[in-house]
Symmetry: C2
Subunit: 456 residues, 2 copies
């Protein structure tokens, strides 16, 4: 590899053949997941109405590697392996001795890393004879990816899109429809849950929690024809994303370097896990010492300001109770422009790693992330999604710190998606309409007072 | 290469080192370009106020290969070589024995092939000491690409965007601004040309012709600080795009096949030329017999229904007079959704090839192109730009014809860009708001009556 190489490409034969399951290597096992009614640990059968058994078994598996089906790898070939690039122009713009590498998942046809899990989820549902999938979407990346994956496997797809997003982002809905899925603004008249909300408040503009309730209801009342799909948080979803980090291990070898620090934004935790877990594996079992840094928005700081406690996964308290860093299930984040990072909790795997001191976390305010996004776009050409921009802001902090200390620090991050459907946020930034937001401590404390009582 | 390969990737070392200039191989030379005032052939010095001398010399060069500067190839490494894919899922959906290959230029950070010429244009202007570039944009692909290229080289960039597009596509303007360029809706108060139009009609929503006048005026009146850049039509622009076809030649070899037919949409001719000219070169000099098919919209059918005659390049008659297939410079195409294909004329190179019987042409109506786009998206995952969809519609016709004749036909096309900023057109298609449009012959005849009188 020449000294001025920018891109480190792998052949299609290098697409990983198995997902990495960190449950096999965690120093202590993940906390039990509890039933929202009984508050006792749930088993695989409790999840069967919503998910196909293959995915439920992956959710609880302790095997280190789970084989990727050939049918899934065939579809991965449309865009994988994704490129790893060295951001030499950004390094120059920052005048830093750091070496900055980024994995670019935006080349996926759906435009983000979400397709990595949408494809296997659609595959296993098809295999079980399911007719269609229901899901919710906020920013729209996940709804797009699932619609696309369903179209690949001939599955129907029903997407509930938070009404305010649906109205603000008509192009997202158009893209989802292009793949043959239906998109319904939520709350809607198509479900009991939606109708109940509209009866109380006909002008309700929706929330992720309401959209989840509608999507879950469609699956739960379909007599098995439909199942439900989630785009982050769950163990099997995080595991599907490990193809990213596994490819990075090979590509960093091509580049002749090894990361000193990995930076990734965290909303539900799937992007972060995708790039980080294979390197955490190296730390845990292979004597490596890569720092792993989770970046969250100051306006939704689950890891850095939340509490590690049992809480509901949704706002209405219908999902299982999970131990996680949470801001409280009735926490309502302010309307900042990274829809993918507005979750009150965090994936169990990420929380355990954080609680065990195996990863670090950092909250960054909104304006710094857009400044970072623009710096990146002008150096490297790619306009990042606002979610990804949080990671870039963290990278720039690391690179500038390396400049202060005069250190050649090797930084790796995952550019999880492009911002082509988020340009209204950039318009607002250029018009000086965006602001920072620090959530007041008393509001966090108030939300904490409403955590479910769990004796388990 | 295994029998079921989908993607044929090249290493960065395979990025072409020279552009291919078809002027060296044309059976007869291109017709002279005439001065709009004297109507006599123009020389390089006539173009010097608008373009740097390196580009003017490329415009008239008869050398077969012109070396790509190392600084330009360095930037190409951000996304080149672009992938070549075999559309196996589309083949299956069409149940055709044809083999369909597509080159995907949408992976460029600006989202289309336009960056291939924007980068060298910015480079040569920077080299000549120019402070900034002015240009016009309709759909926005070209404005985005030039803004990005200027940001790479530290040039200022002024983009005049047709007002109706500016208002319909605020996200395009946001992306152009992200790269540090200014975007002005045209007609504007910033130029004499714009003010004159607004004085007559304050509600004028603009046209490409008006935007060209404004951009040209900025360059012409800047005392050399600014020059002007064009995204298609000119010889040097078409030549810059030949990196596409040159890579395809290598990639088809990897695939172990050679195209029987190449299909590409034509607006100004740069996408078409990019993929086709290196194969036309093989036809002309190497005994190959690839059919080359230019696809244009039925609503703007320059090649198939226009006349090969001298005409102005713009609507107001200020640019040089070029011999080309034209619908008349005051032809106003109906508002169909492929802004990049709404030009009344066509690149001189493409016209000569067509007139000499070296390429074929075909006009396809709008609804067939959107149907093709959706079929492609559901098979291959990528939502194409409406311009690219014209090529896909042509490919599908070829593939279905091969099915009828039971023939294994190898088809290659260039997917020149994604449709992420064109989703309003898809929304209109799904809402049954789009229609076909055949331009009435009497209107074409009327526009022809207004061609400039040229005795040359």
């Amino acid at each position: 590899m020449s000294d001025d190489a920018i891109r480190f490409d792998l052949p299609q034969s290098a697409i990983p053949t198995a997902w990495y399951n960190i449950q096999a290597d965690l120093p202590r096992p993940l906390p039990a997941v509890l039933h929202p009614g009984t508050k006792q640990p749930i088993g695989p059968h409790d999840l069967a109405p919503l998910f196909p058994m293959d995915l439920i078994l992956q959710e609880v598996s302790q095997e280190r590697y789970i084989e990727i089906p050939e049918e899934v790898r065939e579809i991965f070939k449309l865009w994988r392996p994704t490129p790893l690039l060295r951001a030499r122009r950004l390094e120059k713009a920052l005048d830093t001795p750091a070496h900055i590498y980024y994995k670019y998942e935006g080349v996926s046809p759906s435009g983000s890393h979400k397709l990595n899990t949408a494809v296997p989820q659609a595959y296993y549902n098809k295999k079980e004879g399911v007719q269609g999938l229901s899901t919710e979407t906020g920013a729209g990346q996940w709804g797009t990816a699932l619609a696309q994956a369903c179209s690949f496997f001939g599955l129907e797809c029903v997407v509930y899109m938070v009404k305010v997003s649906y109205e603000q982002k008509p192009y997202r809905a158009a893209m989802i429809r292009t793949f043959g899925a239906s998109v319904t603004p939520s709350p809607s008249n198509t479900t009991h849950a939606g109708r109940a909300i509209l009866a109380k408040d006909p002008n309700n503009t929706g929330s992720l929690g309401i959209a989840i309730s509608e999507a879950v209801e469609v699956a739960a009342t379909s007599g098995g024809k439909y199942k439900y799909a989630l785009g982050s948080v769950l163990n099997h979803v995080l595991m599907h994303q490990t193809v990213i980090g596994q490819e990075c291990l090979q590509q960093m070898e091509l580049a002749g370097e090894y990361p000193d620090v990995i930076v990734a934004p965290t909303g539900g935790g799937s992007n972060f896990s995708g790039i980080a877990l294979p390197f955490v594996h190296q730390n845990l079992t292979n004597g490596k010492h890569t720092r792993v840094l989770a970046v969250e928005p100051s306006a939704c700081p689950s890891l850095t300001r939340g509490r590690y406690a049992y809480d509901f996964g949704d706002t209405s308290g219908m999902t299982p109770i999970v131990k996680m860093y949470t801001l409280g299930h009735d926490f309502v984040p302010p309307p900042f422009h990274a829809g993918g990072l507005r979750y009150h909790g965090m994936a169990s795997v990420v929380c355990e790693l954080y609680d065990q001191g195996l990863i670090e976390a950092l909250a960054i305010p909104q304006l710094e992330t857009f400044e970072a996004a623009v710096t990146f776009a002008r150096s490297e050409g790619i306009v990042p999604a606002p979610e990804a921009a949080h990671g870039i802001a963290g990278v720039i902090r690391e690179a500038l710190h390396a400049k202060e200390t005069g250190e050649k620090r090797v930084i790796l991050f995952n550019l999880c998606g492009h911002g082509h459907f988020d340009m209204s946020a950039y318009n607002a930034y250029f018009a000086n309409e965006l602001s920072d937001y620090e959530y007041p401590q008393e509001q966090i404390d108030a939300a904490m007072a409403n955590l479910p009582e769990v004796t388990f």
